[in-house]
Symmetry: C2
Subunit: 237 residues, 2 copies
């Protein structure tokens, strides 16, 4: 609890981080100006700027010249399709089809990732994404209940093609950070049927854990697509 010897901007950054994670500033309403924050904390303007810069680099907030400083809203460009090259997919948003929605008791593995209690309930979705009617990837998705109770009630037909905006609008859940783990496997007969591929066909498997701004896991997702369509680039420096 003692800050002696600690860099002042780091202390300020920690304090601001806590306030952001506690939801003090909802997305779309600005934080106090750097002037105000500096005064409030009795530090020079440059020091407060430095503290804010830390949170910017963490991806927690964004600063817009002339407008203000804002808590970053949901993830953009998180589509699984970025892992695959499909002939017709010219950057557009692929169609989403919800194959099934059921209330389940999570398996131990999913439970661990969601950080929920043993025997906790979840909503399990099966979702197919396609370009021009051609199925590309198949997704299994688990959402913790009761947070997503409103989705369990609704009609999947009007959910649209993107899930994260849906989570935000209907359930007030903002996905802020995600970790994707890439692996390899082969399709079960049932999975292959949805994708129009032979059973046992090789597939890329992307396991995602998505978290909100406070670090709580709000979605577990397993995506499968044809291994031959998989491509992903990494830059090292």
């Amino acid at each position: 609890m003692n800050d002696v010897g600690r860099r002042r901007y780091a202390t300020l950054a920690a304090s601001l981080r806590a306030r952001v994670q506690a939801g003090e500033w909802p997305p779309a309403i600005a934080l106090p100006s750097e002037q105000a924050l500096a005064q409030e904390n009795g530090v020079a303007l440059g020091t407060m700027r430095r503290a804010l810069q830390v949170l910017v680099e963490e991806g927690l907030i964004e600063r817009i010249h002339g407008r203000g400083t804002f808590v970053r809203s949901g993830l953009s460009g998180a589509s699984m399709l970025r892992f695959f090259r499909f002939g017709s997919g010219r950057g557009g948003v692929p169609r989403s089809t919800i194959v099934s929605v059921k209330r389940v008791v999570t398996t131990a593995e999913v439970q661990r990732q969601l950080g929920s209690a043993p025997g906790a309930a979840a909503l399990q979705l099966l979702r197919l994404r396609s370009f021009d009617g051609v199925p590309c990837v198949l997704e299994q998705i688990w959402l913790p209940l009761p947070d997503f109770e409103l989705l369990a009630a609704g009609d999947p037909g009007d959910w649209g093609d993107l899930l994260y905006p849906l989570y935000a609008e209907r359930c007030g859940v903002q996905v802020h950070r995600a970790v994707d783990e890439i692996g390899f496997g082969s399709l079960t007969a049932a999975q292959a049927r949805h994708l129009g591929l032979p059973a046992g066909h090789p597939c890329a498997v992307v396991k995602r854990a998505a978290h909100d701004v406070a670090g709580r896991c709000v979605e577990v997702r397993v995506t499968r697509g044809d291994a031959h369509a998989f491509r992903y680039a990494v830059t090292l420096t």
Copy 2:
């Protein structure tokens, strides 16, 4: 060529970048101090710091408290093994076996990546890496000639287990940046034989283009390993 209206630190950063890429400061000898650079360019210290910070973020230089500012030397942690999970590989450096070395005329694809002229010569290596005598990944490597002429002459037996330090010591080539593109495929009979797997076995394929500090491509590499041992994590924010 005109800097009017441009941010001063960006101009300074560009100037420094050019000098670094021209090789003005070899690795291990320090750049002038920020004081000296600021004075030399007639700007405040903070502005020069900001310019240096740009190059740090680009991964071009690194600053060490109390010692000075240095051009970053070769890539570290660039091992292909980071893409795979093998039972025995507890973080150690795997053994490297050079299967073959030959002088070749590059294919169009490799030529394009190396940025060399049509019909240009290259050195082609075939390399097997193993833990405890168990082969893990197989690599095809192309190196532009005449830059790597000294390797063509030497005995692969004394090359050791790491290539990038070898490139630096024997040929004066520093690998500074690399782009790895991940995909999936299957092994040819010859490839499978080296890895002790059946022909046609699914494999992960990592295609790398490695560049020096000036941006020139100095190595093309294709690495293959058992697809079932592949795993890679990506974080999105």
